[in-house]
């Protein structure tokens, strides 16, 4: 029977949290989510989260920016309206390219930075007017909250186990749809 029940387990120390996450995983309890007030180093590894691919995204966005700059410079300065400025060549893109290096660099950075941040916001579902979803307001202050799937586990054993890992508070959240 899938109860849909979730335990909200609060910790007030990051070291204890790390220990608890490792113990929960070794006992094969399912951790739905962990909310922390600051980046706890190594937590993603302890939880078994996969690597983020945002850096790869950023690299691709940078290449797009570089291409846009190249195409734009070639069209504007070489093809559409070539001008002889101070005797500098405007016959081919390659000859004139050194003058465009600053623009190519800036647009690479512009695309890589902004598109990566937008991707981050979209993937993490954060944007203006988005409602916060941390279950306890103290998780932005000094508390750490693990959402544990109660599943079919015996609640008493599970609670006992969680208190033993150093939890400061545990609350059972009934999921209405399954109740």
């Amino acid at each position: 029977m899938a109860s849909g029940n979730v335990l909200h387990v609060l910790y007030n120390d990051d070291d204890i949290l790390m220990k608890a996450v490792k113990e929960l995983r070794s006992k094969h309890y399912r951790i739905i989510e962990v909310y922390t007030p600051f980046p706890v180093h190594g937590l993603d590894k302890a939880m078994g989260l996969p690597h983020t691919r945002l850096a790869i995204c950023s690299f691709i966005y940078g290449l797009i920016g570089l291409s846009v700059a190249t195409l734009m410079m070639n069209f504007i300065m070489i093809e559409d309206w070539p001008r002889n400025i101070g005797g500098k060549p405007s016959f081919s893109y390659l000859q004139n390219m050194p003058a465009f290096v600053p623009i190519m660099f800036e647009l690479t950075v512009f695309f890589a930075a902004h598109l990566m941040v937008i991707t981050f916001y979209m993937r993490s579902r954060i944007w203006p007017f988005k409602k916060a979803e941390n279950p306890d307001v103290r998780t932005t202050d000094d508390h750490f909250l693990i959402e544990v799937d109660a599943a079919d586990h015996d609640l008493d054993t599970l609670s006992k186990f969680l208190y033993d890992t150093g939890a400061s508070e545990i609350s059972l959240i009934h999921n209405e749809e399954h109740a």
Partner: protein, 595 residues
């Protein structure tokens, strides 16, 4: 724990007995509290200066650039001086947050937020000058490569001035998103701490609904690292390109190949001086001396020493080349024998004294750890770096190749007014920021607290385990939790149905506390459970049992889970509650009765 290890020889970066909660309280205090009188006084002065500058800008735009002191010989003067000065100041913030992040310098965390704010506000001031200098600022969009009414005449991408447009707008916008992304968790902290519904709404919007999931943090750190990697060459490129404005020209004193590195070092030099100026005041006004410590000040002074040294070498090189070239025109460049003895001798010596000589005092450890002296040196560098740009621009132009057109520059009140106005505008923005933004990246500071906090260094040295030391009594009690919970969720009127405590409890917050207690000790379900006889517990009489029933406590099981926190809560609610609960060990008794 070994993961928090830091060599004991390193001085603590967070002083005092600080817990995670203390950091939230200290960083939130200026926002959640009221502005003091000195804030209002400084803000009013800044606002007046800003309005005066605004008047001068309106006068300039409506009358024309002729109201400035420019003449045929000197076509660039204060406006470009101010532009370069502000852009230079705007280099420290991104340097601190990006370069120091790549170098894993923990001390950046206390100052990066304000330094980045300063960067953004300074670049805004810088951007004003070219736009005003256009004379017709409503045509500013002509610098963009957009198809237009002149056929398809495009902007000139061979020009450093256009590179500037791209460099500075990229720099401003990337710095802004870098800053804002770092702010999200801190806005979320304010959102969750404040008790005012208005602030909850505002900071809720500003925080983009940040919830602090483990995956969010993983992405957050990755994004910060990649942005730092991108911003580092970006920050170097910006002032390099600004220096191209001069270096690609044919004016003696400008066409110098040393300019790009020299300008970048000078920009960092002046930027750090401005950070010192602002933070030395701010740490006092908003009581952050425990976070922005003398160690931070000394580190910044060391960066000033390094970049000041680079600038000094560049000065000497320029001076030497000016003399060694033997070209007569070079004798009136900003760093030359002619400049030192000519009509602009005062500007030359101001530059040498402020940027070259005074910062040398920071080699003395005692002086670079002296707050008052640091502040004075920082102010002097700010002045010196303004003179550097004035010297480059005005002295080099004043004596050009045609002796008959030699000229001097006299600023008018409009020149001065616009400059003072931007200083006012800058401080208006910074003061508003200091009142409404978390001025320290508290989430990041929390992440180094256990390695670099004075308290934790002490605990580690005493050989104790750091695990569990972060608990703070103020956030671990029902009172605090419900206080916060009821404030953030005032609409929540749902309470446990087994509680019939209206006679005992009158406030909503008390009811929430009872709910929370029941959440921990368990609720009684009349349909499946039977009530136990609580009177069997020594100390519980019929009256007390009835009151416990009203609170939803019916079973031994519930009582057996009680701890001191619950006893204290019951003590608060029930008048005749005996203080013996703990002494008689109700929980233990109930545990025995259960079996």
């Amino acid at each position: 724990m070994s993961s928090h290890y830091e060599a004991p020889i390193r001085e603590p970066l967070i002083l005092g007995e600080k817990s995670y909660h203390d950091i939230s309280v200290d960083v939130g205090a200026p926002i959640l509290g009221k502005a003091n009188k000195s804030w209002w006084i400084v803000f009013s002065i800044a606002l007046i200066a800003f309005l005066w500058g605004l008047g001068c800008i309106v006068y300039t735009v409506s009358t024309g650039i002729g109201v400035w002191g420019l003449n045929k010989t000197i076509g660039w003067a204060w406006d470009i001086t101010n532009f370069v000065w502000w852009v230079g100041i705007g280099h420290a913030g991104t340097l601190i947050s990006a370069v120091l992040l790549l170098f894993r310098q923990k001390w950046r965390m206390a100052i990066n937020r304000s330094a980045e704010a300063m960067t953004i506000f300074a670049v805004v001031q810088a951007g004003l000058f070219p736009i005003i200098h256009m004379g017709r600022p409503w045509l500013a969009y002509w610098v963009l490569p957009i198809p237009n009414q002149f056929g398809s005449l495009w902007v000139n991408f061979n020009s450093p001035l256009l590179w500037d447009v791209f460099a500075i707008s990229t720099y401003l916008s990337v710095s802004l998103v870098f800053w804002w992304t770092g702010l999200l968790p801190d806005f979320a902290m304010i959102r969750d701490r404040t008790k005012s519904p208005f602030q909850q709404k505002i900071y809720g919007i500003l925080s983009f609904g940040w919830s602090g999931r483990a995956k969010d943090w993983q992405r957050f750190e990755e994004v910060s690292l990649v942005l730092a990697g991108l911003a580092t060459p970006l920050v170097l490129s910006v002032h390099t390109i600004v220096s191209f404005d001069f270096a690609t020209s044919v004016v003696p004193g400008w066409h110098s190949t040393i300019f790009p590195p020299y300008f970048v070092a000078g920009a960092i030099f002046s930027g750090f001086a401005m950070v010192q100026t602002l933070l030395l005041v701010m740490r006092k006004v908003v009581n952050l001396e425990n976070y922005i410590t003398i160690v931070h000040i000394e580190f910044m002074n060391k960066v000033i020493l390094l970049t000041g040294g680079i600038v000094t070498v560049a000065y000497l090189t320029e001076y030497f080349i000016g003399w060694y070239s033997g070209v007569p025109y070079e004798n009136y460049t900003y760093l030359s024998f002619g400049a030192a003895t000519g009509p602009y001798w005062w500007a030359f010596w101001a530059l040498i004294i402020c940027n070259l000589i005074v910062p040398l005092t920071l080699w003395v450890k005692k002086w670079r750890r002296n707050i008052v002296w640091t502040f004075i040196v920082a102010l002097i560098i700010n002045i010196g770096m303004w003179f550097e740009r004035f010297d480059i621009i005005v002295i080099c132009l004043s004596k050009d190749r045609l002796a008959s057109s030699w000229s001097m520059f006299q600023p008018t009140f409009v020149d001065i007014g616009v400059f003072v106005g931007t200083i006012g505008f800058f401080f208006v923005l910074f003061l508003l920021y200091a009142r409404t933004f978390p001025v320290i990246a508290q989430a990041e500071v929390k992440s180094i607290l256990k390695s670099s906090g004075a308290r934790y260094k002490r605990i580690r040295e005493s050989g104790e385990d750091l695990a569990g030391t972060a608990a703070d009594a103020r956030t671990s009690t029902y009172a605090e939790r419900t206080n916060l919970a009821s404030a953030s969720n005032a609409a929540n009127t749902y309470h446990q149905s087994t509680v019939h405590a209206d006679a005992l409890v009158d406030t909503e917050s008390k009811k929430s506390e009872i709910d929370l207690m029941l959440a921990k000790i368990g609720t009684y379900d009349p349909a499946t459970q039977t009530a136990d006889d609580l009177k069997k517990i020594s100390g519980v009489g019929p009256v007390l049992e009835q009151k416990l029933h009203q609170l939803g406590i019916y079973t031994y099981d519930q009582v057996s889970k009680m701890t001191k926190t619950e006893y204290d809560l019951l003590d608060e609610i029930i008048d005749a509650f005996p203080g013996r609960a703990e002494r008689d060990d109700w929980a233990g008794q109930a545990q025995n009765l259960k079996q």
